[in-house]
């Protein structure tokens, strides 16, 4: 019986330098570097003075650290004739994004809930048409929308842009809300009906409290989508209400004298900060929500 005590026992020892580990982590590291490199270049360039930028060594760390390009990008960079930086555009973007996100999510969540739980006559046709809308190129609709906004008397106003963003968010948002609500147990909905809750009662008291993951997904999609929008921003607004993306374009494309790469980089990072922050805050919830909507949809 001595034999029982010698020889292998317990978990088999595994080397961390196995070939499979090297391949997996090697690939991950290379991909991460590949994606991080441009960001790195942007950050270091934005912290250099123009004399350093001119040397052309884009990967070098700044010798004399300076934050001037950031201040300039924010408050005094020139967009065409005016030299007021991105500040005004930032405000415009906030004024456009916040109501657009709220309105589109409010409507789409009710749409998705009705489609998933209250199958009315023609619901499928309505849904098909709505989804079709997601595949129509935006360019096709640019001019008709100009006419519609003009007739409504909101062309060029931020209100007009909010309407446009809310409508264009509808197909994809309705789809993800519908799929999410369909994935919730049907018996829960039945139980609430027996308990006497109506359309809105079930929505607010039973469905919405269970919707945090999908709400986060919707918020991220909308905030990043609307914040990053350029096309609608430039077509449907006047210069004084240009969103940040349009102003960024104007700063970067102003070819008056020398190109200020450091200011351009700083301006670009500032513009991208809002979506980035949203991702960092809610990344985990985002992944969970995507999984919840997609897998069980």
């Amino acid at each position: 019986m001595q034999n029982d005590m010698i020889g292998p026992r317990g978990p088999k020892p595994r080397s961390i330098f196995r070939l499979s580990n090297l391949v997996v982590y090697g690939t991950i590291t290379i991909l991460a570097l590949y994606y991080l490199a441009p960001l790195y270049v942007m950050v270091v360039t934005s912290l250099k003075s123009m004399s350093e930028v001119r040397i052309g060594n884009v990967f070098a760390l700044p010798v004399n650290l300076t934050f001037d390009p950031w201040f300039k990008a924010w408050s005094s960079a020139c967009t065409g004739l005016k030299c007021e930086g991105l500040m005004g555009g930032f405000l415009n973007s906030v004024i456009i994004t916040v109501p657009s996100v709220i309105v589109s999510i409010a409507i789409a969540s009710v749409n998705g809930y009705a489609l998933a739980n209250w199958p009315y006559r023609g619901a499928n046709i309505f849904f098909t048409i709505l989804i079709f809308g997601a595949f129509v190129p935006y360019q096709l609709m640019l001019y008709p929308i100009v006419i519609i906004l003009r007739e409504l008397g909101v062309f060029g106003d931020l209100a007009g842009l909010v309407i446009v963003h809310s409508i264009f968010g509808m197909p994809i948002l309705t789809l993800i809300f519908r799929n999410y609500f369909s994935s919730l147990p049907a018996e829960l909905f039945k139980a609430a009906r027996i308990d006497g809750a109506g359309f809105w009662g079930i929505f607010f008291k039973v469905m919405l409290p269970m919707s945090l993951p999908i709400l986060v997904v919707a918020i991220i999609l909308q905030v990043t989508g609307i914040w990053n929008d350029f096309l609608f921003g430039i077509v449907y607004t006047r210069p004084e209400s240009y969103p940040m993306t349009v102003q960024l374009n104007n700063i970067v494309n102003s070819t008056y004298g020398e190109k200020e790469y450091n200011v351009n980089m700083a301006a670009t990072i500032i513009t991208g900060l809002v979506p980035l922050t949203i991702y960092f805050i809610s990344g985990k919830l985002f992944v969970r929500g995507i999984a919840a909507g997609a897998v069980k949809g």
Partner: protein
Amino acid sequence: MLMESVSIKNLDLNFGSVEVLKNLNLDVHQGEFIVLLGSSGCGKSTLLNCIAGLLDVSDGQIFINGNNVTWQEPSERGIGMVFQSYALYPQMTVEGNLSFGLRNAGVAKAEIQKKVARAAEILQIEALLKRKPSELSGGQRQRVAIGRALVRDVDVFLFDEPLSNLDAKLRTDLRVEIKRLHQQLKNTMIYVTHDQIEAMTLADRIAIMREGKIMQLASPAEIYGRPVNKYVADFIGSPAMNFLEGCVEKGAFHFAGGVLPLDQYNFSEGMDGDRDAWIGIRPEHVLVAETLAKADLTVSVRADIVEPMGADTLLWCEFGGQSFRIRLDGQFEIKEGDMIDIGFTSNAISLFDKSSEMRL
């Protein structure tokens, strides 16, 4: 005339071109425990959903306590429902779950508290009132689900396979509790299941369903003892009934296993003519040893396979040209290859017409 608790008249339900329920009629007496039993897809859950008002019927009427509720909302029908998946509202506490229906109905706060406290006491979940459903075990969740129907003082309880998600031990415990609850509350209860043990133990009457129709509606003893057709006979009883082919001729059943006189067989009205037929013999109704004295027909068979199951022993043998099951007492001593004398008596068998499969 006494008012029926639930009365279903000529109910049809179609999903598109699929007929799920066909001209279905069912009367449930006040305080009765009815079990809808059938294999999956027979329409039993669909029928329950129609009674609850969660599905719109295609034709026919539903009455609860004499009121035509065919077009009424689920919450207006005086029913409470317990689901297989419990369907508790995850973000509400147990208390919130119990009181949700009352709050929707606008009941006063003090009244709600009183009713919740009473339901919690009956179901012994007072200690859990402040917890969330995720912090409860399966059995506790199902109790809360029952409580949700209880607080609303409903006339009719509907159960949709409430025990199917629980493990075997818990299922037995909760089954007894549901029975006790019924004795205590004396409400009408309609209970859907595919488990014949649940059906036999709980029901005052069982409705056996198949393809959207009720095949037989009768007490458990009647269903077990006098199944109305071969399908019901085969469905009820475990291990299942043995069926052998033969013919009824001059007051006796002739088949490959011998001739069984039918002196004690209780024929249904007008069904005693000569014809081809099936004989159905329950494994537990085969006579052995000292009970052989009562047999109308005795034969000798060889034990092929012996399956001891503790209280019982299941014996497989070759009889009448096919495999045949016999249920013996667990104490009965027998091993594979032994010869054994078995007997049949005509008062413990069922006969079914060969072609229509209806009881003779």
